[in-house]
Symmetry: C2
Subunit: 346 residues, 2 copies
Amino acid sequence: MEERKQKVLLAIVQDFIATAEPVGSRTIAKKYGLGVSPATIRNEMADLEELGYIEQPHTSAGRVPSVRGYRYYVDYLMQKRELSRDEEELIRREFEIKVRDVGQVIQKTGQLLSQLTCYTAMVLTQQMGGSSFKHVQLVPMSINQTMVIVVMDNGAVHHRMIETPESIRPSDLETLSKVLNAKLQGLTMENIKLTLLKEIYFELGKHKQVLDLAMEMIQDSLGLKDEDKIYLGGVFNMINQPEFHNVERVKTMLSILEQEKLLCELLTGQSWDKGVTVRIGGEITDYDIKDYSVVAAPYSISGRKIGSIGVLGPTRMDYAKVISVVDFMTKNLSKTLERMFLGRGR
Amino acid sequence: MEERKQKVLLAIVQDFIATAEPVGSRTIAKKYGLGVSPATIRNEMADLEELGYIEQPHTSAGRVPSVRGYRYYVDYLMQKRELSRDEEELIRREFEIKVRDVGQVIQKTGQLLSQLTCYTAMVLTQQMGGSSFKHVQLVPMSINQTMVIVVMDNGAVHHRMIETPESIRPSDLETLSKVLNAKLQGLTMENIKLTLLKEIYFELGKHKQVLDLAMEMIQDSLGLKDEDKIYLGGVFNMINQPEFHNVERVKTMLSILEQEKLLCELLTGQSWDKGVTVRIGGEITDYDIKDYSVVAAPYSISGRKIGSIGVLGPTRMDYAKVISVVDFMTKNLSKTLERMFLGRGR
DNA sequence: TTTAGCACTCAATGCCATCGAGTGCTAACA
DNA sequence: TGTTAGCACTCGATGGCATTGAGTGCTAAA
C-alpha cells in the first residue's frame, strides 16, 4: 500500500480508537499533519473504503475502521509499546505483597489485567492433564467423617469429605495414608496398573469401604475431572466505554461472557504456539461477536503451556496498550508460578 | 388501616410488581374485583398517598408503592408462599449430584438463588473465627519447595508453598508434621500458650527455618486472616428486568455490586438474630441505594451462624417468592453443610 | 358514601423543519 | 497526472410543536 494511504489509515484507526467517533477528512487534515487538503484525503479514503479497510456507518458520517483495517493496523502500522515504569512497578508490587497461593495469583492477574486496560480480563486455567500423584492424607474429622486431601505434583491440592464407618480408628487412617503414598508415589492416571491396585486392595482389604472412596477421590484428582476454569475480572469497568451507552450492547456483551465455552475457544483457539494473539471482531469463530476483539496469550511453567490469559474489549480497543499489558502479564505470571512450584533457584 | 384501603394498596403493590408500570384507578377496578368504581378507588388512593404508602411519578401517571408501602405490604398484606414441588425437586437434585466440597456448595447455592428469583444472589461466608487446629502436613514438592497443608476442625483446608533448605529430608518433614500435630491438636488461636511454643521449638530446634514458616502458616489459618468472602451470582440475568432499560441504572447497580463492604453490611446488618430479613430501599444504610431491596438470611452449622445468603433486586421485587426461596435455601444450605461436617447421622 | 361527569395535566409520540458534518463530483490549477 | 477549491447532496441529530391518551382531582347528583 502506498505510504500516504497507510498514513491516512493509521490516522483513522488512531483517531477512532481515541474518540469512538467516525473520523472525517477534515479532522485528519487538521490533527494529523499530512500536508494535504481534506479533498485529497477524501480521495484516499474512497480508495481505502473500496479496498475494504474502512467503512461508513452512513452517508453523511466519517469513516470507521473495518475488521480488515484493524488487522492491517495491528500487523503493519501499530507501534509496539512498552509498559511505563509506574505500571511495571505497580504490578511487581501487587504480586510481591499479596500473592500466596495459586488462586490468588490467578485472581490478581485478572484484576490487574482489567485495571490496566479498562476492558474485561479473562484468565483460563487449563486442566493440567498428565500431572502425577504426590501425596494423600486421610484426616479424621469426626466420628464418621474423614477428610481426604490429595496433592498433585503441579501443586494442586484437592480435598473432599468422605463418610467412614465408626469402627475405623485414626491409626487405621494413618496406615491407609502411608500405604497409598508408598504405592502411588509419582504415578499418573495412565500408569496406575491393575496389578498395583490389586496389591493395594490385598494389603488394605479390611478397610475396603474407606479405600474405595479414597481411591475414587484420587482418581478424580488425577483424571480429567479438573475442568478448565475461567476467571473474569473487570466486567464492570468496561461498561464505561462509550460503546456501551445503549443497553442492547451491554446485554449482548453479558451474554457473551456467559458462554464459557466460547470464551475458552477465544482464549485458546489458535494462539497455542505464538505468543500474544490478536483476534479482531472474533475472527475465526462460529459465534457472532463481530463487535469485540480478544488479545490473548498462553502462560507456562518451564515451557509447558498450562493456561491462557486474555482481554476482551470492543474492536475499537487500544491494541498497542493491551498487547503490551498482556505480554508483560503472561511473562510475569509464568515467572511467578515457576517460582512457586520450582523454587526461587531456577 | 381500613380494610378497603388495604385492598387497594395490595392491588397497587401486586400490579406494580407484576407489570412495572404505575397503576391507575381504572386498572384496579377492572382487574381486582373490589366492587367499587374507579372514582372511589381514586379517593382511597389520594388518602393512601397522603399517608405515604404510595407515590405519583408525575401528575398524569398512576401510583407506585413507596418504600413505606412496600414495607406495609411485606409486614401485613403479603401472602407467604411455599416453593413449588418442581422447584424443591430441582434444588434437591442439583445438590445431590453436583456438590462435593464447600466451594461448590456455596457456588451452587448462589446459582440456584439467582436462577429461581431472576435477581442477583449473594452468598457471604463469614470468617469462622474460633475454629481450631486439626491437622498439618508438610509435603516435599521439589528439592527446595515444600507444601504446607493445614486442616481446620470446621473443614477448611489451606495450603501454601514454602521454601525449604535443600538439606531438609522428607523424613525430617514427616517428623515435623508429627510433632506439630501432636502438640497443637484441637487448639485455637487463643489457647496456644507460649510454653507450648517453646516446647515445640525445643524439640524441633534444628529445623528452625522451616518451622518458622510452617508456624506462620498455621497462625494465619487460625487467625482472622480468612476474610469474609462474598460470592455473586446472576448479575447478568437481572439486567433483563425492565428497570434496567436505561444504562444509568445498570451502572449504578454495578457500582453497588463492586462495593463489597456495602454488600456485607446489607447481608449481615441486623438480620443476625431473626430468620429472613427484608430490607427495602436499603433501609438503614448510609449508602444511597433507595431503588434496591435485599432479602437476606443467615445460615448455620448446628446453631452457630457462619454466613448469610441474600438476594439483591429492584424495590419492585417479588417479595413473596424471594422470601420463600431464601428461606428454603438457608435451610438447605445449613443442612448440606452440617451433613458434610458432622456426618449424615446427626 | 359512592359515583358519573368533566376539566385539567403531562409524558409520550410523531411530524416537520432546520442544521451541519461529511461526502462525492467536477472543474480548475500546478 | 496529482492536488485542491467549490458546490450540491445526503442523512442523522436536534428541537419545536401539535396531538394523543392515560390518569387525576373536583363537583354535583344519586
